[in-house]
């Protein structure tokens, strides 16, 4: 919303941005990153989603409207730029506790102790990349700070990563800066967190866990790289709680999910990296944002037909409000992720099923009645002017969503089978699975190849 206002202001049109009370601080900080710190907002008291029609009427006409008039007719006072340290500036000198206290007080830390980013430690990280420390990979919103190789090394040190993780960290920031990912949405209220999927020989070279205990902290590379992501979002992208990070409920960072490529090779399934457009054997990272999901315990059966109904049912249940990304608003960007354990994948493959066969099955069976689909968004959620029929007739979504007027017709929750993502990891001998509820364009699956330095093998 504020980005739209900034585009209008830049083109010469005065704006008033309609902002619920709880988002005024976020707007103020976001406005700095947009280069318009004094862009004015019109406040809607409380939150719009819980007001009666009369309360909404009174709030808009008694409060918001006066703000709108002022916003459009009174020149906002300039706001002075806050002073900041310089790039490569030493900001604190002292003992471990003093450094950590300083980093917490200045919002540079996630609350856990950080490894002090000293010159020696940073230089060790820089030795694992051929790139210039001053090279910028982008200027992610909301802060629009330069995502330099140097800043990646600093935050990698802080997260407790080992220096040899540096090529992976660089690839992650390249993905963060990719416009298709949508990093600017990382502070939205549903509070999605990014999951990193790792592929390639680097999994074993760096000692990532890819078997029992996947997604749990306890392994240095999986845990510290996940922490790096969150620290980089905080320190360089600029997502700070109570300011630009408006997650109502969040998670601690997600530890890295590494695929079991030995198993994938054994059963002839392509790894996630190939689904993302890379060659098998490439070292890659894939990122996407998810608001939770859940595990399926004991996916039982000895054939796909016996196993997959449970999986399809859970996919449909765990992707609830996220179907907003399936509508024209989301441009069909919903990409649920299904993580299955090796023994499930092996059982499916033994019956001759490919990954795409599984996706087709899920597409055909993870469905809900059209009236439920519409009610979720139009009545329960936040959309007021939308339905499947209108979207289909306008050519904005596929015809499969309106094949009859029967409100009980079953419709899929994504546009096509390929929208589902499947990863294989976890306890090799336990038949469990996990479904992640993805957040569409607010963190669209984005992959990057990890470029290793010339001296990597040494």
């Amino acid at each position: 919303m504020l980005r739209a206002s900034a585009a209008c202001e830049a083109a010469g049109f005065p704006t008033s941005s309609l902002t619920c009370e709880g988002f005024v601080k976020q707007a103020a900080v976001t406005a700095v990153g947009l280069g318009m710190p004094n862009i004015p907002v019109a406040v809607v008291p409380g939150h719009i989603g819980t007001k009666t029609p009369q309360e909404l009427h009174d709030a808009i006409l008694n409060v918001t409207m006066d703000d709108v008039v002022n916003n459009l007719t009174v020149t906002p006072a300039p706001i002075a730029k806050a002073g900041e340290p310089q790039a490569r500036e030493i900001v604190v000198k002292g003992g471990f506790r003093a450094v950590n206290q300083y980093f917490v007080e200045h919002e540079y830390s996630d609350g856990l102790p950080i490894v002090p980013p000293t010159r020696d430690a940073i230089d060790e990280f820089l030795r694992y990349t051929d790139r210039d420390p001053e090279e910028s990979l982008g200027t992610p919103l909301p802060d629009k700070r330069s995502a330099t190789i140097w800043s990646i090394a600093v935050n990698g040190v802080m997260a407790g990563c080992r220096p040899e993780y540096m090529p992976l960290l660089v690839a992650l920031v390249e993905a963060m800066c990719d416009p298709n990912y949508g990093v600017e949405h990382s502070g939205n209220t549903p509070g999605a967190d990014t999951l990193i999927i790792l592929n390639g020989p680097i999994i074993k070279q760096l000692g990532f866990n890819y078997t029992q205990g996947a997604l749990r902290d306890g392994f240095l590379p999986n845990t510290s790289v996940g922490r790096f992501w969150r620290l980089y979002l905080r320190n360089v992208a600029g997502f700070l709680l109570h300011k630009t990070d408006k997650a109502t409920y969040g998670n601690t960072w997600r530890v890295v999910l590494a695929e079991n490529e030995d198993l994938l090779a054994k059963i002839g399934w392509e790894p996630n990296s190939v689904e993302m457009g890379f060659k098998a054997g490439d070292n890659t990272v894939t990122i996407a944002r998810y608001t939770g999901g859940g595990s399926l315990s004991s996916v039982s059966g000895s054939t796909p037909e016996e196993m997959l109904p449970y999986l399809a049912d859970t996919v449909e249940r765990f992707n609830n409000w996220q179907i907003t990304f399936t509508t024209s608003h989301g441009m069909g960007t919903l990409r649920p992720l299904i993580v299955i354990s090796p023994i499930i994948a092996e059982t499916l493959a033994k019956a001759g099923w490919s990954k795409l066969d599984v996706k087709r099955y899920i597409f055909e069976h993870a469905r809900r009645p059209a009236h439920d689909f519409e009610r979720q968004l139009r009545v329960w959620n936040i959309r007021g002017v939308w339905d499947l029929k209108a979207d289909v007739l306008a050519g904005r979504i596929p015809k499969v969503f309106y094949e009859s007027d029967d409100p009980n017709r079953l419709v899929p929750i994504v546009w096509k089978p390929e929208d589902y993502m499947i990863a294989v990891t976890g306890d090799p001998l336990r038949n469990n699975a996990y479904v992640f509820a993805q957040n569409g364009f607010l963190g669209y699956p984005t992959g990057k190849k990890i470029h290793l330095p010339e001296n990597w093998e040494h």
């Binding site: 919303m1 504020l2 980005r3 739209a4 209008c8 202001e9 830049a10 083109a11 010469g12 049109f13 005065p14 704006t15 008033s16 941005s17 309609l18 902002t19 619920c20 700095v32 990153g33 280069g35 318009m36 004094n38 862009i39 019109a42 809607v44 719009i48 989603g49 909404l56 808009i60 918001t64 409207m65 459009l72 007719t73 009174v74 900041e84 790039a87 490569r88 500036e89 030493i90 900001v91 604190v92 000198k93 002090p116 000293t118 940073i122 910028s136 200027t139 629009k144 700070r145 330069s146 802080m158 416009p179 320190n235 360089v236 990304f325 608003h329 441009m331 960007t333 936040i382 364009f441």
Partner: protein
């Protein structure tokens, strides 16, 4: 160098980078809304359709000569198509003879 408390000594670098965005000027404000054309931009979230109806009703009472261009003319300013939508905005606003913009909803 280690002190007696084993707390160590560190010279820690700033973990951020300088902001790259230069401060930009806002558009000039209007002297009045009377006789002006006001566009409604909506991200199709949080009851903006109702809010714009209310604002239009209230502003017309205060400025009878004010005119409004509905959010329906612009499409969503958010969503999967945001970048293209924002790039097209300035020309669309000019085409509609817009003087000012109300943009919602941040909730």
């Amino acid at each position: 160098m280690t002190d007696k408390t084993n707390d160590g000594y560190y010279e820690a670098y700033w973990p951020r980078s300088p902001r790259e965005q230069l401060t930009r000027k806002l558009a000039p404000r209007l002297d009045t809304l009377e006789g002006k054309t006001i566009a409604q931009l909506w991200d199709e979230l949080f009851k903006g359709d109702i809010v714009f109806e209310l604002l239009e009703e209230g502003l017309k009472k205060r400025y009878p000569g004010a005119k409004f261009v509905s959010w329906r003319e612009f499409g969503s300013t958010h969503g999967g198509n945001e970048k293209a939508a924002l790039e097209a905005l300035p020309q669309k606003l000019r085409d509609f003879g817009v003087d000012a913009v109300m943009s919602g909803m941040a909730c």
